[in-house]
């Protein structure tokens, strides 16, 4: 995105060559994926290995990111946390968007009354502060990674639902849909072959944008003591835990925070990139 110049350069850059920022973002995501799939490659250590004598050590050659209150190596934890955090982010987003797609399609394609009903429902969910939805869900199911993930999914669904609905509406009234009707295509065919695929493109963008947010959401829940269960090396939990010591040991929050920001930012950059290309392609 930062490659986007002022007048038109953005549109022109919408050829399929990635911008500098997008290249960087890609690199970050690749690293994250590696960390998520083979954490051992980047950090051979055990993220849970407690070493009381090494507690609260500032970044050094031995511990690039320093150590936390139990002398666990933060670099190792950040790397090994990637899987957990990304899974949380991905799952939450998936749930949110999945739910939203159903609602959005119902509203976008169904008859007026269904649209009205669904829109109202979405509005109800929307009227809830997202965090409250999450809180309620968690106190019902009890805290933990899974429940807070689902909670975040729930909390973010209404927002997605709105976007999807409008997207569906737009596509359904597009001229190429009319063209299909002239060719004698039926409703179902049009939905499956034209509407859905075109919406999916938008969904993908939403997903990338949502992923980072989901991680942040979960971290906020961890701060409220409702997030990941210790000693899981999950970024949000680390961030929340280290925060108590922020005055004395900055690195305990800085690096997990950095990871979150990097992940979210990278995802967003790519998301916007794809979006840009979609738009210029339609």
């Amino acid at each position: 995105m930062s490659g986007v110049g002022r007048s038109g350069a953005g549109r022109r850059a919408a050829g399929f060559r990635p911008t500098v920022a997008e290249a960087l973002a890609g690199l970050v995501l690749v690293l994250l994926l590696v960390a998520a799939i083979w954490p051992g490659l980047l950090a051979p250590g055990d993220p849970l290995a407690v070493s009381r004598t090494e507690a609260f050590q500032p970044p050094s050659l031995a511990h690039v990111f320093g150590t936390d209150e139990s002398g666990r190596d933060i670099w190792t934890r950040v790397v090994h946390g990637a899987a957990e955090s990304l899974r949380i982010g991905a799952l939450a987003t998936a749930i949110g968007i999945g739910l939203a797609t159903v609602l959005g399609l119902l509203a976008g394609l169904g008859p007026r009354w269904l649209d009205f009903g669904t829109t109202r429902l979405v509005e109800v969910l929307f009227a809830f502060p997202g965090l409250l939805l999450a809180l309620l869900f968690i106190v019902v199911t009890g805290p933990g990674v899974l429940s807070s993930t689902i909670a975040v999914g729930l909390a973010t669904a209404p927002g997605y639902a709105r976007i999807i609905r409008s997207q569906v509406r737009r596509t359904a009234s597009a001229e190429f849909v009319e063209a299909a009707r002239v060719l004698g295509r039926g409703r179902v065919w049009i939905v499956t072959r034209h509407v859905l695929p075109n919406v999916t493109a938008a969904l993908f963008v939403l997903a990338t944008l949502g992923l980072g947010q989901a991680v942040i959401w979960v971290s906020s829940l961890s701060y409220l003591g409702l997030g990941a269960v210790p000693p899981a090396a999950e970024w949000g939990a680390m961030l929340a835990a280290g925060r108590t010591y922020i005055a004395s040991f900055w690195w305990m929050t800085f690096f997990p925070g950095l990871a979150i920001v990097a992940a979210a930012a990278a995802a967003t950059v790519l998301g916007r990139g794809i979006q840009k290309r979609n738009r210029s392609a339609s």
Partner: protein
């Protein structure tokens, strides 16, 4: 115009439905949770309630009656405008909320305004400064949008209070106390608004009327403030309703960090104490505020974009 009246009716109906539904959802959600409200009523940490006390409390709050009955009586009261008695605060919910609402609204409104200022300022700056500035601008927005409230809050405290010592780390009466909390809420929001604006800003800056303006001899700055900004703002304005909701969520965290009065904190403690009536009450208020807010947004949208003439939905 009949169309308008019909629309207004639908709209009003929608609001009522939203309120009813949110109240119901909350009520039952909180009744599903483990943990006995009566226990919570008797004072939380380190206190153990005697059986009589619990019985007494259950009777007092009607917790011994079947859930359906409780729900109906609750709704009945609600219709007559009575939000009920708060378990944990030993006072009417209405009063409890009344005490807190002001603070949160102030915070939310300040944050919203601040977010807009930040977003616009950044956009303006990066529009003037050429590619590099543009890159920096969008970079900042990315990061801003990706910062968790609770973390940002602490960093801001360390910076402005502990290090610089120019702002109070916790809320104090008077405008000074609002600054940091509002800032904490505003920054991530500004990030979002900024990103949305930037997208449409690009489009606006490429549209012919900008050429016309240039050809008229307008300077880039004037063009930004008089023409493009407004176009860029339209989608962002549409988001403000959502933004308000997200601010309430943020308030839960921020009010805790800055020890600030407000619904957010009441909400958190109420949920943790299973204070059904209070939570429901707050949800109702927030839902109401939200629906009002979206209404306002629609109006604002009409102001910014007169083209939206057609009667909605």
């Amino acid at each position: 115009m009949p169309g308008t009246r019909r629309w207004l009716l639908l709209r009003a109906g929608g609001v009522l439905f939203v309120l009813w539904a949110s109240a119901t959802i909350t009520f039952f959600a909180l009744r599903l949770v483990p943990g006995d409200p009566a226990e919570a009523i008797l004072g939380g940490p380190g206190s153990q309630a005697g059986p009589e006390a619990l019985e007494q409390v259950r009777r007092e709050y009607g917790l011994d009656r079947p859930l359906a009955v409780q729900y109906l009586t609750y709704l009945g009261r609600l219709v007559s405008g009575d939000l009920g008695q708060s378990y944990s605060l030993h006072k009417p919910v209405a009063t409890a909320i009344g005490e807190q609402l002001g603070a949160t609204l102030t915070l939310a409104v300040c944050a919203l305004a601040l977010a807009w200022v930040l977003a616009c300022a950044l956009a303006a700056w990066s529009v003037r400064g050429g590619r590099v500035a543009w890159a920096i601008g969008s970079g900042l927005e990315l990061v801003a949008a990706a910062v968790p409230h609770f973390w940002l809050a602490t960093v801001l405290i360390l910076l402005f209070s502990t290090t610089l010592g120019i702002l109070p780390p916790v809320s104090v009466p008077g405008p000074l106390g609002v600054v940091l909390p509002a800032l904490t809420l505003a920054v991530p929001l500004a990030g979002f608004l900024g990103q949305v604006m930037r997208e449409s800003l690009l489009t606006a800056m490429e549209s012919p009327f900008v050429t016309t303006a240039r050809a008229r001899g307008e300077s880039e700055v004037r063009i930004f403030w008089r023409h493009t900004l407004r176009h860029a703002a339209i989608p962002a304005v549409g988001l403000s309703g959502w933004a308000f909701g997200s601010l309430i969520s943020g308030a839960v965290v921020v009010e805790a960090v800055f020890a600030r009065q407000g619904l957010g904190r009441s909400l958190l403690s109420a949920v943790q104490l299973r204070d059904v009536t209070l939570v429901t009450g707050i949800v109702l208020v927030v839902a109401l505020a939200y629906t009002v807010m979206t209404l306002v947004t629609d109006v604002a949208d009409r102001l910014v974009d007169p083209r939206t003439r057609a009667v909605a939905r």
